[in-house]
């Protein structure tokens, strides 16, 4: 029995349930002070002055920071981090000053009373398809062409027997991890020690070193336990810069845990999108044309170009294919990564349009997808390292009871409920990035493995221990896995579904190397090896198209009187390479699917354009799905899949794919239940019945 594939319990579970696991602001720091930001009350303007004397006279106040007195920071690419370096206000809620005080209460109160004199200027925050200033970015994230085109879309559409031309919209949504962005910063001589909640301490340490002009070995960022991130903690955020700056100014450790309301301004969110999809097909449903044009927003602080239409490039074959991205540069907070950036909104549009095409063709939506399954990656022409989408659809159909489904909409009723079912495909790139790791023998037959991986609640620590155990040929409880500290061997962040794939490669390599060296004899001082996978990753054969696939099935019930939509069943079936730990993997899938349910039905950040901010900035106003919404009939399965071309262990990564097809599956099910096609997320009750 290998450790990989076993249901190993989370090694830090007891620490978490007993409170022994420390999060960023729970570390003791003698003499700690607190910083609290002052946010811009306008969406565009220039800071004239801050009445610092009045604030400094308030009880417990140690310092007031703003651009007139803040320490200078060195240039970094992400200008959201350049706190108080300019007098320019770029969006409502931007940090324009901060108060450091002896207590959190004093800091908050003084910050609330801090008067910032701002010369307000007219702002523009509205994303619309008819804006004259939409522009094509040079690249979309992470490094894709903005626009692609093959063949003549217009000609193929004109020659198609069936065509669909529809526009979908998705709302701005905020990541909202349970643990807010939080930091404790302290300067120990010329060293900076930060406990910070993030998805990658290596990158955060590098950013801090650059900003504060320090050698990288002078900065230590510890992120031992992290209460979720969903992309919003992928890189350093303003909170950690503010804590470090404040600590330097007052010469004491400084803590900051952002509020829930702060989550809606300064840490990132998923851009709203407007997406036009055009599909043309023969009467047999075989696609002739696919066009996907996405419009989204970015800020004036830095460009963030969500890769919304990129997933469409490799999903289905067609003679003519076109994708395009356009951005509006607005006076808004900078959008950022949120679980499956690109694929989550993009596949919602594509997979909804495919459902509309199936209806137009009179074809079962699964059959339509099967007929359009490409032999090779239609974009690159490369073979897929593995592509088991059809197998996922077939397996899911059997589990879900899809065969024999009546395709007619609005005809199934259970009491007051209209019932419908929907399906959608999912995909996410399977990428690996370089990582380093160290492994060494301990005295008692145990081993320690170091890697700066981050466990953001996924079980990464446990999973990597399983990988090391198999490589060393020992039980997982012989492995001491050390993660979440920038002084450990550097590795890629927990993001892009790349973590386990990249980290396991380095851990496996280090452990194998240690085992080999041990076989040759153990020297007196013990044995430690350190490896790096940069060369291995660079040597990956570029002529494979590497992606994970999945199929989502939803059954919804729509109240015939009120339009309320409830999801009675949600199923995901995945082909994601090798699954290291079925327990933690299932948890990831269900979490992603739940987040997709929220994107489909409830999550929406509402901007009031007169003020330029998101007004529903708490959990009473921003509805994330909770247990009663998910119910018990949610389940995830995966197929056995061996893919030796993605990385040595055949791991594709599972953090994002769970969210990808769920909004479309639910939207398609709502149509099947009611005959109403809601094309703008979230699918609120008023959109279903009352417009």
């Amino acid at each position: 029995m290998t450790a990989i594939g076993a249901r190993v319990r989370r090694t830090e579970g007891p620490d978490k349930v007993t409170g022994a696991a420390r999060y960023a602001v729970e570390y003791p720091a003698p003499g700690v002070a607190y910083v609290w930001p002052v946010q811009a009350p306008v969406a565009r303007g220039t800071v004239r002055s801050v009445d610092t004397d009045a604030v400094l006279a308030m009880p417990g106040v140690l310092a007031v920071l703003w651009h007139g007195n803040a320490p200078r920071l060195a240039e970094v690419a992400d200008h959201e981090l350049l706190l108080f370096q300019s007098d320019r206000v770029a969006y409502h809620g931007q940090f324009v000053a901060a108060v450091v005080a002896d207590s959190l209460e004093a800091a908050r109160e003084a910050a609330a009373r801090t008067r910032v004199d701002i010369d307000e200027q007219p702002h523009d925050t509205e994303l619309r398809a008819d804006r004259a200033d939409l522009y094509t970015p040079e690249k979309v994230n992470p490094n894709h062409e903005s626009d692609t085109s093959q063949g003549d879309v217009d000609a193929e559409l004109a020659a198609s027997d069936v065509a669909v031309d529809v526009t979908y919209e998705t709302a701005a949504t905020h990541n909202n991890p349970m643990e807010p962005h939080a930091s404790t910063a302290q300067w120990l001589g010329d060293r900076l020690l930060v406990h910070d909640s993030n998805q990658g301490a290596t990158g955060v340490a590098q950013s801090l070193a650059t900003l504060f002009g320090l050698a990288e070995d002078r900065v230590q960022v510890v992120s031992a336990h992290v209460g979720g991130g969903f992309g919003a903690k992928g890189t350093a955020r303003p909170n950690v810069v503010l804590a470090a700056m404040a600590a330097r100014v007052v010469g004491r450790p400084v803590r900051l845990a952002l509020s829930r309301q702060h989550q809606f301004s300064v840490v990132g969110y998923r851009t709203p999108t407007i997406q036009r999809i055009r599909l043309g097909a023969g009467a047999d449903g075989v696609l002739r044309a696919i066009s996907h044009e996405a419009i989204e927003q970015t800020s004036t602080v830095r460009e963030f170009a969500e890769q919304t239409a990129v997933g469409t490039r490799m999903m289905y074959a067609a003679a003519a294919r076109r994708t395009a991205h356009k951005l509006a540069r607005l006076d808004v907070p900078t959008p950022a990564w949120m679980r499956a950036p690109g694929e989550a909104p993009g596949m919602y549009a594509l997979e909804s349009a495919l459902d509309e095409l199936a209806v137009a063709c009179g074809l079962d939506p699964i059959e339509l997808r099967v007929r359009n399954e490409p032999a090779v990656d239609p974009e690159s022409g490369h073979p897929f390292s593995s592509r088991n989408l059809v197998a996922c659809l077939r397996d899911g159909a059997d589990r879900f009871g899809w065969p024999g489904r009546d395709p007619r909409p609005g005809v199934r009723r259970d009491g007051r409920w209209l019932v419908g079912t929907g399906v959608a495909a999912a995909t996410y790139p399977a990428r690996s990035r370089p990582a380093s790791a160290a492994a060494r023998m301990l005295r008692d037959g145990r081993y320690r493995v170091d890697i700066n991986a981050t466990d953001i609640g996924t079980g990464a620590r446990t999973v990597l221990g399983q990988v090391a155990a198999d490589a060393l040929g020992v039980a997982p409880d012989r492995i001491e896995m050390c993660v979440g500290d920038s002084t450990l061997p550097p590795a890629i962040l927990a993001g892009g579904s790349m973590g386990t794939a990249s980290w396991s490669w380095a851990v496996d390599k280090a452990a194998r190397e240690l085992r080999t060296r041990m076989a040759a004899g153990v020297p007196e001082g013990g044995l430690e090896v350190r490896v790096d996978t940069a060369d291995d990753v660079a040597a990956l054969d570029a002529h494979w198209s590497r992606h994970a696939f999945g199929a989502h099935f939803a059954e919804v019930r729509v109240d015939a009187d009120t339009g309320e939509v409830r999801v009675s069943r949600l199923l995901g079936v995945y082909a994601v390479g090798r699954v290291v730990n079925p327990t933690t993997a299932r948890s990831q899938f269900l979490g992603g699917m739940t987040m997709g349910l929220g994107m489909a039905l409830t999550e929406e950040s509402t901007m009031d354009h007169r003020f330029g901010d998101y007004v529903n900035d708490d959990f009473a106003g921003y509805h994330v799905p909770a247990c009663a919404d998910v119910g018990t009939a949610i389940d995830a399965y995966w197929l056995e899949e061996q893919d030796r071309y993605v990385n040595p262990l055949g791991i594709k990564g599972i953090g994002e794919i769970g969210i990808v097809g769920v909004p479309a599956a639910i939207g398609n099910a709502v149509w099947h239940a009611t005959g109403v096609r809601v094309r703008d997320l979230p699918i609120r009750l008023d959109k279903v019945l009352f417009r």
């Binding site: 009187d561 309320e564 007169r610 009473a620 008023d686 019945l689």
Partner: protein, 322 residues
């Protein structure tokens, strides 16, 4: 957080005396007041804790049920007598908030909670209720969740309580320390041009109990919400219906989520009494009440929603086949 004083009274008279100074507030469960203090919306100089002095019992008599103002929402919701005789009340309580909040919230405090209008809760924005005379940004802004009945050009906020909607339908009386009781339906003031005035209670009034006259016919509460978990009502209905031989003998209807107070639909009740218990009649009655609605662009859907919901709930109570 703004510094404030805290005092614990030992009896109602002591509490009333303590709260007599300006900027003093009673504190019971604190589930709304403390949140608003964190947001800077409420800035009391003194909190007078009444949680331990308010009666918490539920007493049954020939006059009906009397519920102490300090009773916890969760305790009242599961009380055997409440569930047997006033299911609408139990259902309304269980539809509100979350388990944790229901364990902390009190019956008296629940009636006096403040609106969930986003602008009211954000001190950086204008709001006639929070800062009289500054304007109402909701009317041209995010008002999808706000009111369609009883609103004014100065305020379109809704009262957020589920409990109060059930109590309005039940003709509940609100008992005060050393003052005459007030009918629940008369407790709340409509906004007019003074939206900061939310109740008819004089300063320092202390709610001690809520009483319910007997109700001899079936009742129920249904809440329409944007998610199944903890969420405020998009709209709700509390209804009780007495049908004899297909004719409506008595009926009570109150709506939540649509007005600055729990909206007792007296006009709809008048339309129905003595008439047929049919879906068409239920719809027509709801429309008669909704004729007074003044919906805004984003919440106009609440008019057909409330009509549908009312007809559905009355239909269920009447056993009408649909």
């Amino acid at each position: 957080m703004r510094p404030f004083d805290y005092a614990r009274a030992t009896d109602p008279a002591g509490a009333v005396a303590l709260v007599g100074r300006p900027d003093a507030k009673y504190l019971a469960g604190g589930t709304n007041l403390v949140d608003l203090m964190k947001l800077g919306v409420e800035t009391p100089a003194l909190l007078v804790d009444v949680a331990r002095l308010l009666p918490t019992g539920i007493e049954e008599s020939a006059d009906g049920l009397r519920i102490g103002a300090g009773a916890r929402n969760s305790d009242v919701a599961v009380d055997r007598r409440v569930r047997a005789h006033y299911p609408v009340l139990s259902q309304a309580l269980l539809a509100g908030a979350s388990g944790q909040l229901r364990n902390a919230a009190t019956i008296g405090g629940n009636l006096l909670q403040r609106t969930r209008c986003r602008y009211f809760q954000d001190v950086t924005k204008p709001c006639n209720k929070r800062a009289p005379g500054t304007g109402c940004p909701a009317i041209a802004g995010a008002h999808r969740d706000l009111g369609i009945l009883g609103t004014s050009e100065h305020c379109v906020a809704t009262h957020p309580s589920d409990l109060a909607v059930a109590l309005a339908a039940l003709d509940a009386q609100v008992h005060l320390h050393e003052a005459a009781p007030v009918p629940l339906t008369g407790l709340y003031a409509l906004p007019g041009d003074t939206p900061q005035v939310e109740t008819v209670l004089p300063p320092g009034a202390l709610i001690t109990a809520v009483s319910l006259p007997p109700l001899g016919f079936p009742s129920r509460y249904r809440k329409v919400r944007d998610r199944a978990s903890y969420a405020f009502a998009v709209a709700s209905v509390a209804a009780a219906l007495d049908v004899v031989d297909g004719t409506v003998r008595d009926v009570r209807i109150a709506w939540g989520g649509v007005a600055p107070r729990p909206w007792r639909a007296y006009q709809a009740e008048r339309e129905l009494r003595g008439g047929p218990a049919t879906e068409a009649a239920f719809r027509a009655a709801a429309d008669a009440e909704l004729a007074a609605a003044r919906p805004l662009p984003e919440n106009a859907f609440k008019v057909p929603l409330v009509r549908n919901l009312t007809a559905a709930v009355l239909g269920e109570l009447a056993g009408v086949d649909r």
